[in-house]
């Protein structure tokens, strides 16, 4: 069965890029626009992995990670955070919150898949 990945980003373009790349690699993809949206969808249909942007309206990525790590189902799932070069402090914050890995935007599809390859078994 195909592994399920949720892509969380407020940018439709990024979501599209993620979906396209992941579906192309055989994953099932669900999308969410921000942390709040994600949490609502996650509860009913928990994925195998989460990819999230950090800077988002309503609930940012850091908070989302914290929430997921506190849930019973999301304690151990891999979480990939998407950062930008200027966000070194955010990266540390995300790691502390429980992010498994990070990827700096802009990224190439191969880079994304390479990381998933390592963290998602």
């Amino acid at each position: 069965m195909a592994k399920k990945i949720m892509a969380v980003d407020d940018s439709a373009t990024i979501r599209q890029v993620l979906s396209f790349t992941l579906q192309g690699a055989g994953f099932e993809v669900t999308e969410a626009e921000d942390g709040q949206d994600a949490l609502e969808k996650l509860v009913s249909d928990p994925p195998d992995m989460l990819i999230t942007d950090l800077n988002m309206p309503r609930m940012d990525g850091i908070q989302l990670i914290k929430e997921v790590r506190q849930s019973s189902w999301g304690k151990f799932i891999p979480i990939l955070m998407l950062t930008t070069e200027s966000q070194e402090a955010k990266k540390q914050e995300g790691k502390a919150a429980g992010a498994s890995a990070w990827l700096v935007k802009p990224f190439k599809p191969e880079q994304l898949l390479a990381i998933i390859n390592v963290v998602l078994l």
Binding site: K75, P78, K95, W102, V119, L121
Partner: protein, 706 residues
């Protein structure tokens, strides 16, 4: 560099690769699944193709490409190695060789032959959808990246809470294993008792021995998401790091270096140790766990492997020099030896201690240099041996016999010139063994022998000589057949009594063959006499022994080098001559009385045995009277003892052989000349032709008397 030089380099390289290819293919025939050999065969083809393409030998390049393509498939496991594949590839190898010979001369090979072979090779491939296009690029990549492999010892201890970050250590280990070959050893010594165990924490850590072509940074990249929080050590494993002792890094040192064992603990246990296996003692003493020991043992093994690999590389590191350059070096050292001899002789007459000292020093250095230079020309004879494998294989197929060639002493070194000129006689002997020596499988079976006959080819050093032996376990030489044959050719009369040895040696007589029917293999008009001549021309000797029903052995004795011989310096009528010392047996005085008692016939009694001798004075028509007491040098020539009467025997002489000029080259009985210490020239005698000529003259003489 001109194009010609490129072509020459290419030719040499390709010839080498082709013989590698041949050896590899023959090995494959024995072990069809040996991946290393398949790789070697493939690389040989690949390199030939590549370099041919580079310098514009398109015919070779294109043809080799086709063969390579098939082998690419073999390498990837898509095609098994079969006898047919080996046969075809051997044939392809021959075509490449032919192309090489012809292309260099501006000709080309009949394209039909090549096309046929390509078609046959392709026929072996099950489905051949676009197989010629793909694969090769991939192979290229594999070949280029192969060279710079390194091995690392990686210690990875993740933070205990790694699972809470959604990271599975297996994922990282898997990623690592994609970088190369790796061996992972899990360390379990931190796992607490079950009642203290928190299932959400990670207690394990890992040691990984990774051999990879990637660099250290790439390994760090694998751990990038955990590196800040985990314990990660990446140590390149190499000899420098651990080479304090001879045995590839001592186990205790490795464990201490890993931090698994303190130096104090090690010393303590070492003191108590009284059996050889330190590892077991350490584990028993409880200072190291079994898994930690495994890692250290693995590292130790890797260091050993690297050491062996390096030694193998060092062995083969060499430079290529044209043999002409070495020849001229040998010529020069010859001149130097001559000048040095003059210096020594001059200084000896001067009574000047300073000059004497210099002369002695020069002499010492010259001889040392001579030995070294002659040594450079020495090559292991094994290169010739490997080409015989093919010969035996092809011949036994052709003749319907089963034969295997077993070689020994391939590392024995001989002068290059000798090796080059040895090829033909050895080929002939081996042919002969298979054709005449070995029986057919049925006959062998009946005789209770294994159906597969064996031909042994061995080389060993023996003083200043090399002994080569070609031995078969066939039927042996039929002495009666030789006797009959000899009689019919008038070499023997029925009354003559002959010993076995004499009989057997008749096979070296010109045109002698006991096989009624001439086969395509041995009966090419070349008899054993030609073999003997070739060996003689190398200043060697050949002997044969045979046991009927058990087999035949040919033993060839060869000098290590042709450039310098030990000679016996003699004088006749003021002229000096050198006899090869290897042939000389002893020297006997010859008084006028002795001559008279033999009725002026050239015969001398040597401890009861009558030995004929010839007078060098007469042979070379030198003037003057011989001294009252002459010397006869008894030597072996043409399988018999012959004496050479001279005025004086001067003594042993290290002789640097110089070829005679064009004008004198065809004179029989002289093999060259040498320059003596006083600058005069001495001729070097070639004994067998001298004896032959003398015998011929004698026959004319006696015939005319009758």
């Amino acid at each position: 560099m001109t194009m010609d030089q490129y072509a020459e380099t290419f030719r040499e390289e390709t010839l080498e690769l082709l013989s590698e290819l041949e050896v590899g293919l023959l090995e494959l025939e024995q072990n069809p699944e040996d991946v290393d050999v398949i790789g070697r065969v493939f690389r040989a083809l690949h390199t030939v193709k590549g370099s041919a393409g580079m310098i514009g030998f398109d015919e070779i390049s294109q043809f080799t490409h086709e063969v390579e393509t098939v082998f690419e498939l073999v390498r990837s496991g898509g095609l098994p190695v079969t006898g047919e594949l080996v046969n075809l590839t051997l044939a392809a190898r021959d075509i490449i060789k032919e192309m090489l010979d012809k292309n260099l001369g501006g000709e080309s090979v009949d394209p039909e032959i090549a096309d046929q072979l390509v078609a046959a090779l392709r026929g072996l491939v099950p489905t051949q959808d676009d197989f010629s296009a793909n694969g090769v690029a991939e192979a290229e990549e594999l070949i280029t990246s192969e060279s710079e492999e390194a091995t690392y010892h990686i210690r990875f201890r993740p933070p205990a809470n790694i699972f809470h970050r959604g990271i599975q250590p297996q994922g990282l280990l898997q990623e690592l294993s994609r970088l190369g070959t790796c061996r992972v050893i899990a360390q379990t010594d931190s796992i607490p008792r079950l009642d203290e165990l928190d299932a959400e924490l990670c207690y394990l850590y890992w040691d990984i021995i990774l051999t990879t072509e990637h660099d250290e940074d790439r390994i760090h990249d694998v751990f990038i998401f955990v590196e800040d929080d985990c314990e990660l050590k990446i140590l390149p494993i190499n000899e420098d790091l651990l080479a304090q002792s001879g045995e590839g890094g001592r186990l205790g040192d490795i464990l201490v270096q890993h931090g698994d064992l303190s130096r104090d603990d090690l010393e303590r246990v070492l003191q108590a140790q009284n059996k050889p296996k330190l590892g077991e003692v350490l584990v028993q003493a409880g200072v190291v766990t079994g898994a930690q020991l495994d890692v250290a043992l693995e590292v130790q093994a890797e260091v050993k492997r690297q050491k062996q690999k390096r030694e193998a590389v060092e062995e083969s590191s060499s430079i290529r020099v044209r043999s002409e350059k070495l020849d001229s070096l040998v010529d020069l050292i010859g001149e130097l030896v001559t000048v040095q001899a003059r210096l020594s002789q001059t200084s000896a007459g001067q009574d000047d201690p300073v000059l004497n000292e210099i002369a002695e020093e020069v002499e010492r250095l010259t001889w040392e240099m001579r030995d070294h230079i002659l040594n450079i020309r020495m090559l292991p004879i094994g290169t010739t041996f490997s080409s015989f494998q093919r010969l035996v294989r092809d011949l036994s197929q052709e003749l319907g016999k089963e034969a295997v060639l077993v070689t020994a002493g391939a590392e024995t070194e001989l002068d290059k010139t000798v090796i080059d000129r040895l090829g033909d006689p050895l080929v002939h002997l081996i042919r002969n063994s298979i054709d005449h020596g070995l029986e057919s499988p049925e006959v062998r079976h009946k005789a209770g022998k294994p159906e597969q006959g064996t031909i042994f080819l061995s080389a060993t050093h023996s003083g200043a000589n090399v002994i080569l032996e070609v031995r078969d376990d066939g039927g042996g030489i039929n002495l009666n057949a030789i006797r009959e044959r000899a009689k019919s050719r008038g070499l023997l009369t029925s009354e003559m009594e002959t010993s076995e040895a004499e009989l057997i040696n008749l096979i070296f007589s010109p045109g002698f063959s006991t096989v009624g029917e001439v086969s395509s293999v041995s009966g090419r008009g070349v008899g054993m006499d030609v073999v003997k001549q070739a060996i003689d021309s190398l200043r060697g000797s050949i002997a044969v022994t045979s046991v009927e029903g058990k087999g035949t052995t040919f033993t060839i004795k060869l000098p290590l080098t042709l450039a310098i011989i030990d000679g016996l310096l003699v004088q006749v009528a003021g002229e000096k001559f050198v006899l090869p010392l290897s042939a000389v047996e002893e020297c006997i005085e010859l008084s006028r009385q002795d001559v008279a008692s033999a009725n002026n016939r050239n015969l001398i009694k040597v401890r009861g045995e009558i030995v004929p001798y010839l007078r060098l004075r007469e042979r070379f028509r030198l003037n003057g009277k011989p001294p009252e007491i002459e010397q006869v040098v008894i030597a072996e020539a043409m399988g018999q003892r012959v004496g050479f009467a001279v005025d004086h025997v001067i003594g042993e002489h290290q002789t640097v052989i110089k070829a005679l000029g064009q004008m004198y080259r065809d004179i029989k009985g002289l093999s060259g000349a040498t320059i003596l210490g006083d600058g005069t020239v001495a001729l070097i005698l070639d004994l067998p032709p001298l004896v032959q000529e003398a015998e011929a003259d004698e026959r004319i003489l006696t015939d005319s008397v009758h």
